[in-house]
Point group: C2
Chain length 408, copies 2
């Protein structure tokens, strides 16, 4: 039997406790032994809950108990989660976590610490909730050099965009709905500004490219500026709009970005709707693959955390390989990254197309009956720098949305 401790009895923590109970038999079989929760650390008491007998308020009780081999950190936030995780590893305990903020910020250090001590630091639940993606990257795609990861990594923004597209509603209205339903936080900034997706793509990129990708280096643009007018154009083009987090290796150059993108119906990410997440991976021999599922929620997230617990229980005294090099990856200047853009401009297609084509070359104008005094077009494949230069030169641009480029 292996004793474990859970740090935090919130949504995920209580989910972990419940999953270990519900599937006790099958989990014990797979782990090769019983797994017992000895302690649950929380500031609060839960007098009505049988968990109360395991509740401790002092982390030292867990740290100083040599029976505890695995610490499940599901507190969220950087501190005290970071200090607690480090202390656990220094005390010879493996750690698993759902904490993307902490992994994005201190993953390199905590992985190193674990490896030096023949321990494990696992974080399957930090990206894509219940979707198995970290483990497949580490242990399934070993024959491949991964050259692209593109994810719909935030359920809140995907829910909002899906509703905006399906119902033609405004961002603000849908956000309020999402908050009422519990799909968005009262302070939605981390989601709608793309910060959450940014941390997740930093983690996935570190694994894909076996280097340390700093989330602060990733250009991040949220969905707050997407309007119903943008959506009308997307529909006119038979496309949809998704908040994508991507990183890409191209001829030795690395690019990463979080931003809203237009996607066509042939894109596997096109039909990932509502609160679902999906991660598209392109390997140099595998080609396209996609992993789809619930990106958040108590039980999907707990499923991923408990899978890490099982792995850590099975691999005591042995570090499971994680390919996340210590060397920092220098991302290339985004100005050099190339794609098409949907550009909305003031004017009228009949009279103002010539001015547009004088700058952007031949384009097909797109008009939407409801939107007068403007039209739109999709550019050829140009760099971000070229786009900026041309947009400035034209002087009539209302907005632009990037178009996702599919592998040939």
């Amino acid at each position: 039997m292996t004793q474990i401790a859970v740090l935090g009895y919130g949504t995920v923590g209580s989910g972990v406790v419940e999953v270990l109970k519900t599937n006790h038999e099958s989990i014990s079989k797979k782990a090769g032994q019983e797994i017992n929760i000895k302690y649950v650390l929380d500031l609060r008491d839960f007098p009505e809950d049988p968990i109360q007998e395991k509740i401790v308020h002092d982390y030292n009780i867990i740290l100083n108990d040599p029976e505890v081999k695995v610490v499940v950190e599901v507190m969220g936030g950087v501190e005290p989660a970071y200090t607690f995780s480090k202390q656990a590893l220094l005390a010879g305990k493996s750690v698993c976590t759902s904490n993307k903020e902490l992994v994005a910020r201190h993953g390199t250090e905590l992985l190193k610490l674990a490896k030096e001590r023949n321990l494990n630091y696992l974080f399957e639940a930090s990206c894509g909730g219940g979707i198995p993606i970290i483990r497949p990257l580490n242990s399934s795609l070993t024959a491949d050099e991964i050259d692209e990861i593109t994810g719909i990594l935030n359920g809140t923004t995907n829910y909002i965009l899906t509703k905006m597209i399906q119902e033609g509603s405004d961002f603000d209205d849908v956000l309020k709905q999402a908050q009422a339903l519990g799909y968005a936080e009262r302070n939605p900034e981390a989601d709608v500004e793309g910060y959450d997706a940014c941390r997740k793509i930093a983690i996935l990129s570190s694994l894909a490219f076996d280097k340390q990708v700093d989330y602060q280096d990733i250009y991040t643009e949220g969905i707050t500026k997407i309007t119903t007018a943008d959506i009308r154009y997307a529909k006119a083009l038979g496309m949809t709009i998704k908040l994508l987090a991507y990183s890409r290796k191209l001829e030795g150059h690395y690019f990463a970005m979080v931003a809203p993108f237009l996607l066509g119906p042939n894109d596997p990410l096109y039909s990932v709707n509502g609160v679902f997440n999906a991660i598209f991976v392109h390997g140099n021999v595998l080609g396209d693959a996609m992993f789809y599922g619930s990106g958040a929620g108590k039980f999907p997230t707990a499923s991923a955390v408990v899978a890490d617990v099982v792995d850590e229980v099975m691999h005591q005294g042995e570090t499971i390989p994680v390919y996340w090099g210590e060397e920092k990856l220098t991302l290339d200047d985004l100005n050099d990254s190339r794609r098409r853009f949907l550009v909305r401009v003031k004017g009228d297609a009949a009279s103002d197309l010539a001015a547009v084509e004088a700058v952007f070359g031949h384009v097909d104008p797109v008009s939407v009956p409801e939107l007068t005094g403007e039209f739109a077009f999709v550019t050829g494949v140009i760099s971000e720098a070229e786009y900026k230069e041309k947009a400035e030169k034209l002087g009539t641009v209302i907005s632009r949305i990037r178009v996702r480029h599919l592998h040939a």
Copy 2:
């Protein structure tokens, strides 16, 4: 350095050789050592190909060479692949394979043999080509009890159905096109009759339920009877038709089947088109997940095979857990499985609906302008037995297609 041997220099075998060469550096890093192909077994010679120096025609050379630690069986077919795999394991060599026929037929025995000798028998490429699905089932979804696997597991039939739906073409015409493009074999029976998908779902079910599922026990219906008329009704309902291979655990009962199904747009499998494959998995805590990618092809398949090679090189002397119990799983009588059916009947909705409703209860008739003298309807949720009884009683049924039931 670990020496390996490849059995069969056909499409997959030459792909394996090429992948090990192309990604030599990253693969060596992940395996923790160099991997060298010492022999390639083939009946033929390849005088123009540098592989010639490794070609052997006598399997005993490989068997008797103690340096060879991993045998890659990519010959296809049951014999001599079965005998060769068994001999390799008996000689202390791990085996990996892309051979679904062999795994479906003798997986239980070969896995047992490997385990008894601290060896590995891995088969990631046998289902879903390059899609990581076997390894996630074994090592990612360990917290879950899996209660459903539903796959689009055959690229040929998915290509044919996609073309029939997108272009309104006949089965025979699209099959000829697919054969011309190399997407279908000259003898397409194994694909279009569902036998290939049947073997794959038997393998996946054995892993999901940790028991031995015999592919002969799985009811299998191909796509040869799907007509353009069926497709017109599917479109009228806003649905599509896919060849699904599924298995399901429901209140202690197990059902499995391969058959064409109607799917709605909210189904994650709805937009899996062309030669792509996808595997939908439902776990009791995870909820819905889906794995998508190239289900066949030289390089995607080789990617999966080489991932197995890496695992076997890394785990010499240690069996990686595979949950495929020796106990035979008894599937329940399909007559008890319940779902909706799309039923096409002779007659006219205006005058013959009453007769239908007398047998099937209230239904909404569906008519398609191009199809006169018939109409269709979707039944309530009834068992296969009830459907048969009612269809016989009505006496005017032209055909029926099952409707996929989504988890609530």
